[in-house]
Structure formats: structure tokens, C-alpha cells
């Protein structure tokens, strides 16, 4: 199985006629079983097609054309229009929204997230590359063209969650090369406020039988890792977690942002060293190098498996 999306997930692309969006549609249609992209939206472009996908002026038109609820939307419109596009998707009963756009002011993101919460919808991103279920479906630019995505991602037991889109692929490729495929990989975005954090995706992976371990990529800035540590402890997660922390050098450079908008050391809790300490105290192993990750997660999965069977033996 997978989390968030599967072969049957229907979605639209808002901002479908943009250059990047056109590429993204091609990539998603070509990958795995072929994504079910049931429409696209660009105001004023009703009647056009992008790689055979019909274009509408509004989300409501797309829903009407589809003749029933649409599961998701990939939003790739300029930052000034993103909030409206996401509101439009939510108010048309779309429940999963992947926001690709970067440089959206925090207040807009927070408003989208609040509305999504009220309507029981979920936002992934902004400033992310989307979701991929290896060999099945991808929603967003994650992994790039189908050929490239197939090279990096393979099906298997590891759930991947990453604040960096590119590093989602780098880490998954490393796992694949070591024979560890992925159940689902999610690029959650690099902004200070995002729709879905590590801790918010954990329950989904926890409930997914295919997933046996979690690998995360993380950076200085924010409190998301502390939230994950708390979640893991409070829920006695069955899933071992291995983290990779990039940007350790930033601890010496407070107040300066590197890599992503949310990656900045403003207080002690934002530092890489503090985060590593927190993750470690929750039993999350932190890798020094990416190439160590496959063996670390493999060993921890094996450890859990043997302790569970030992427990079963005692009973």
C-alpha cells in the first residue's frame, strides 16, 4: 500500500498552462500506471488541452466535467495567487492539495492551512515537489521525468519524508541502491509553515502495513523535529526512524538563511545540534552521512522485528 495517493487517485493541476506545469503533467502521465489527471485550471484558457488533459477556467468546471468529487490538486500558480487557488480547491471539496509554489508569505500559507483544517482537507507544501509511490503514481515534479524517477525510486518498505525536494530523490536513490525500496516518499516543503509536518504524516505511515521504517531529511530552523520526537515517544511508534541533518555549519551563523526559506537559526532550539539531541533522545538515529542510512534503518527494522517476535514467544 501507500499513503496519501494510489493508482486510483484523481487530481487536477491548477496553473496547468505554465511552463513547469506542462512538464509536470507529462511526467505524471508517463510515470508508473499513469496519473489520473482529470483536468487543469488556468483562468481564461477554457477549452485548451495540455497533453490531452482538458483545461478549465475554474475548479468548479473541472469537478462538473469529471462528474464527481476529485481527490487532489497540484497547485503551481504564482505566489500572489496561490492562496486563492488553494481556497478554490478546498471549497470545491478537494481533500489533498500539493502546493509547489515557493516564496508565498507565511500569512497566506497559514490561512490555507486553517481553512484546510476546517474542511478536513490536507495540504502538502508549499515549496515542495509532491508525492511519489514508486512504480505506481506520482503527484508533482518529484523525481522528474518518468525515466529519471524510475531510476531513483523503487517499491519497498521505507517511508521517506523530506524538507528538501532534491534530497528526497537523493536519499531514495541511496536506499534503492541498497535494496531498500520506498512505500511512499513525500517532499513536505522547506518553508517555515507547511501544510503537513513529519509528525502529521507519521500516523498515515503507522497505519500503512507496507511501511516498516521511516527516513527523514531535516535542516536547522523551526520546531518540526521536536514535534516529531514528541509524537514518536507519545505514540510508541512501531516504526524506527532514521534522520539525516544537513546544514550543521549554520549553527555558527545565526540569523542567516540558507537553502530554504524556513532554514535559519534564530534561537537555540533552531540549531542542528539541538535538533540532533532532541531526535536522539526520542530514539531516532541521526546519520552523519547519507550512505550510512540504509544499514542504519535495516538494522533497526530487524531489531524491532526480533523484539516483537521475542515478545510473542513469551506470550
Amino acid at each position: 500500500m501507500s499513503i496519501l495517493i494510489d493508482a486510483d487517485t484523481t487530481f487536477i493541476v491548477q496553473g496547468i498552462t505554465g511552463r513547469e506545469a506542462v512538464n509536470l503533467v507529462r511526467e505524471c502521465l508517463d510515470y508508473g500506471a499513469g496519473a489520473k489527471i482529470v483536468g487543469g485550471v488556468t483562468p481564461g484558457r477554457l477549452g485548451r488541452e495540455v497533453h490531452g488533459v482538458p483545461v478549465f477556467d475554474t475548479v468548479a468546471q473541472a469537478v462538473e466535467h469529471h462528474g464527481g468529487p476529485i481527490d487532489g490538486s497540484v497547485v503551481t500558480v504564482p505566489p500572489a495567487f496561490t492562496k486563492d487557488a488553494v481556497f478554490e480547491a478546498i471549497e470545491n471539496q478537494i481533500k489533498l492539495i500539493v502546493v509547489v509554489t515557493e516564496r508565498i508569505p507565511r500569512r497566506d500559507v497559514a490561512q490555507m492551512v486553517d481553512l484546510a483544517g476546517m474542511r478536513r482537507a490536507r495540504i502538502i507544501g508549499p515549496n515542495c515537489l509532491g508525492i511519489i509511490v514508486p512504480d505506481v503514481v506520482k503527484m508533482g515534479g518529484i523525481g522528474g521525468p518518468a525515466k529519471n524517477a524510475s531510476q531513483a525510486y523503487t517499491p519497498g518498505p521505507i517511508g521517506v519524508i523530506s524538507r528538501s525536494g532534491g534530497m528526497t530523490t537523493e536519499m531514495s536513490s541511496t536506499l534503492s541502491a541498497a535494496g531498500l525500496g520506498q512505500s511512499t516518499a513525500v517532499s513536505i516543503g522547506g518553508d517555515a509553515i507547511i501544510g503537513s509536518t513529519y509528525a502529521e504524516l507519521m500516523p498515515l505511515f503507522e497505519a500503512d502495513q507496507q511501511t516498516q521504517g521511516i527516513v527523514i531529511y531535516t535542516e536547522p530552523g523551526g520546531r518540526m523535529e521536536a514535534e516529531l520526537s514528541q509524537w514518536v515517544l507519545a505514540n510508541q511508534s512501531r516504526l524506527p526512524v532514521v534522520a539525516f541533518m544537513a546544514g550543521r555549519f549554520m549553527d555558527e551563523m545565526p540569523g542567516m538563511s540558507f537553502g530554504h526559506a524556513g532554514t535559519i537559526v534564530e534561537g537555540k532550539e533552531d540549531t542542528a545540534s539541538e535538533k540532533i539531541a532532541r531526535l536522539t533522545s526520542a530514539g531516532i538515529a541521526v546519520a552523519e552521512r547519507i550512505e550510512e542510512i540504509p544499514e542504519m534503518i535495516r538494522a533497526r527494522i530487524a531489531e524491532r522485528a526480533s523484539s516483537t517476535s521475542a515478545g510473542a514467544g513469551v506470550r
Binding site: P79, P105, A110, G144, A149, G166, M167, A246, G259, R289
Partner: protein, 404 residues
């Protein structure tokens, strides 16, 4: 972007929150005039962005206009934390009975703004929270519903404040919350918020930061405050090398080849993308390498842009070689970056095989890219070589010894 105190106070004033009758100036004679107008003892405060003004001698008390002028002259010439003051603020010395704290920040975990209030002001709120947690309240508020007076009252009452203080503080907190939201602030803090003998409240100092991504929709406010469009107000001023990097990035709208930060090592880095750059910079340092710079490429920049960035790095004094490395690319084309960096070497009269310590960019169009690199004899690596190993190889080559 952080505002100077005199700008922050103006923002507070515009929001309808009472402020003192202060004046801002860049010249000592004018400081005297302002003090005269105020007509009483004043405080002269250095206008710098860094903290610790008081300790550094950037805040002085004056009894009369003459002394105000003398203090202003001294403070205007005083560098604090490596920063020259923008000017001085001449503030009447208010007769304060009690100092309070009111602030709004984002809570990234709850994804909502949070109003923080305390009847213990004038000092760092973190310290109060640690020493007297019952004296600090936090009230999150919706991003969709407008902030309402009752929320301010709840925040105030939670610290045990009641009576006329509560009713008089309520509109101030509500206006502060509105100011935070409407101006896309990431920090809006009044500290201290003073209670005067007549029971009224007045803002005595303010700290405001606006989100960079939202500056575009507050052009009028910024212009009226006199904030230049180019002013970044980073933790440190950009160096000429970094400014040149920005210019290369701005030369062409396609992709990114910039976000340059200067360091003083001998290994030039042409690296990407966001997360890859962070990982690679760490890896170079972990192997004992000395980076000459940080940078980011991504989003498929043109050959000219990749070339421009590589040339900038290659031309930096002290740079012996460059390492061209990225995490697996899916959008950026390997061959385009390869062309760009080789072109940069050739145009500067260098042998690419000599100058490029390692090229490690796997992904889209890699066969084409690797072919070009082979033609020029440049050492390259595919995805089977990790970011860490590529970084180690670059350090080995530049240090001429086996790296750690």
C-alpha cells in the same frame, strides 16, 4: 527584515497605539532641538539593528538639551556590533509605574500567530517565562477569523491582571495583533509597554520584523518609512562577492545560480540545490576542506548563468580549484551545468581538467553531460558516488593529501 526602533515605533503609532513624543535624527544639533521641544529629561538611543545597545553605551540619559546634543554626538560615532548607527532616537523620559510586555510571533508547529503577554516587561521575555512562568500568557489566534477583543482579555486575565489595567490594555493588544497580521510581520513586540501614573499605557520601545516574501505588498509603508528596496538588513551586510553573485542570478530569470555566501577557503564550490548545498557544505568541512563560498544552483539555469557563477567563484582570490556537485537532479540538466563550468574555465584561460576538482551531478541528461566532461578530461562521478565521497575527493585533490 528587521525594522529600526524608530521605524517600528512609527508602525506602532500608525496602528493607533499610544507612543511617546519621540524624535529621530542623524545630527546632534537636531537632537538638541528635539530635546528642547520635549522639554524635560530625555533618553538618547542609538538606532542599530543589533541588540545589546545599553551595554555597548548606545543608550544615554540627558537632563537638558545641551547634554542631549553631547550624547547624540557620541552615540552617532559609536559602532555597535560592527554596525554604524542609522541615527539616534530622542525620547522623553517617561514616568513609568510598571513595565509590561506584549508581543506577537508565529508558532510554526500550531501554524498560527500567538499573542504573548506579561505584566513583567522591560526584560527579555524568555527570561520571564523561565523564572516566572505564571506571569506569561500565550493566546493563539485564528488565521481566518479576525482577532477579537475577548482574545486580548483572555491573554491579559491569564496573568492575573484585572481592573482598569485590563480594560485599558485590551485595545492595545488587539491593535498589536491586527498590526502583525495586516503588515505580514514575523515579530511585533512592544517591550516595555509602560503604565503611567494616570493609569494609561504607552509604548516605550518596539521590535518589528516583516516577512521578506511579503515586502512586495507593503511597498507604500516601506517607502513612507524610507526603507530602500535593496536593503536586506541581513545579519551581516553582503560582501561585494555576494552582491556580484546576486547580479549573476538576476541576469536571467531561468533557474537559480546564486545565493552566494563568502567564506575564506581555497576550494570554490559550485553546488546545489537547496538541501544538496547544505549537505555538501557540511561534507566538505567534515573532511577538513576549506570552502571559499556557499552557493546554490537549481531549477535549470542557462549555460550563461552557470558559467557566470563558476567564473565568479574561480576568480575569487585564494581559490585554487572548484568542486561542482549537486544532489541528483531531475529538473536542472547535467549537460547544461557541465557546459557552463567548462566554458568558465576556458574563458579564464584555465584547463578544466586541472581547475575542476570533481564534477558530481547525476540525473537528467547525465549521459550528455558526462560525454562533454570526458572530452575535457574532467573527473566526474555518477550517483554511485555519494555526496559525501564526492566532497572527500574534492578535498583530497585540493589539499594534496588523503583527507579524513
Amino acid at each position: 527584515m528587521r525594522f529600526f526602533e524608530y521605524e517600528a515605533r512609527e508602525i506602532v503609532k500608525r496602528a493607533g497605539i499610544p507612543v511617546t513624543d519621540y524624535g529621530f535624527t542623524t545630527n546632534p544639533a537636531q537632537a538638541r532641538e528635539i530635546a528642547q521641544r520635549i522639554g524635560g529629561p530625555t533618553v538618547i538611543k542609538s538606532q542599530v539593528l543589533s541588540g545589546g545597545r545599553m551595554k555597548a553605551g548606545g543608550v544615554k540619559f540627558a537632563d537638558d538639551p545641551q547634554q542631549a546634543e553631547a550624547h547624540a554626538r557620541e552615540i552617532l560615532a559609536l559602532e555597535i556590533g560592527g554596525q554604524e548607527p542609522r541615527g539616534v532616537l530622542v525620547d522623553p523620559r517617561a514616568d513609568v509605574e510598571q513595565e509590561y510586555y506584549a508581543g506577537v510571533v508565529w508558532d510554526g508547529t500550531r501554524k498560527q500567530p500567538v499573542m504573548i503577554f506579561s505584566p513583567v516587561g522591560g526584560i527579555d521575555i524568555e527570561q520571564v517565562a523561565e523564572e516566572q512562568p505564571e506571569k506569561v500568557s500565550r493566546r493563539h489566534f485564528s488565521n481566518i477569523l479576525p482577532f477579537s477583543d475577548f482574545q486580548a482579555k483572555e491573554a491579559i486575565a491569564a496573568t492575573g491582571v484585572s481592573g482598569s489595567a485590563l480594560t485599558r490594555l485590551t485595545p492595545i493588544l488587539t491593535r498589536l495583533a491586527k498590526l502583525f497580521v495586516e503588515n505580514d510581520m514575523t515579530l511585533a513586540e512592544i517591550n516595555p509597554l509602560g503604565r503611567l501614573a494616570d493609569g494609561s499605557f504607552i509604548a516605550l520601545d518596539a521590535h518589528m520584523e516583516i516577512e521578506n516574501e511579503a515586502r512586495g505588498r507593503h511597498k507604500r509603508l516601506l517607502a513612507e518609512l524610507g526603507v530602500g528596496e535593496q536593503e536586506t538588513r541581513q545579519a551581516r551586510e553582503p560582501t561585494p562577492f555576494e552582491i556580484a553573485g546576486e547580479q549573476i542570478d538576476a541576469s536571467d530569470h531561468r533557474g537559480v545560480a546564486g545565493n552566494v555566501t563568502e567564506f575564506d577557503g581555497n576550494l570554490g564550490l559550485v553546488i546545489g540545490a537547496g538541501g544538496g548545498s547544505l549537505t555538501l557544505f557540511d561534507a566538505v568541512r567534515a573532511h577538513g576542506g576549506r570552502p571559499a563560498n556557499y552557493c546554490e544552483i537549481g531549477g535549470n539555469p542557462s549555460v550563461a548563468k552557470a558559467c557566470g557563477l563558476a567564473k565568479l567563484v574561480l576568480s575569487k582570490p585564494g581559490v585554487e580549484r572548484i568542486a561542482v556537485m549537486m544532489s541528483i537532479v531531475s529538473n536542472t540538466r547535467v549537460d547544461i551545468v557541465a557546459r557552463g563550468v567548462i566554458k568558465a574555465c576556458l574563458e579564464l584561460g584555465h584547463d578544466p581538467a586541472e581547475k575542476i576538482a570533481i564534477f558530481r551531478i547525476p540525473g537528467a541528461w547525465e549521459e550528455e553531460g558526462f560525454k562533454i566532461l570526458e572530452r575535457y578530461g574532467v573527473e566526474y562521478a555518477d550517483r554511485s558516488v555519494s555526496l559525501n565521497k564526492a566532497a572527500r575527493r574534492a578535498v583530497e585533490k585540493i589539499e594534496g593529501v588523503a583527507a579524513r
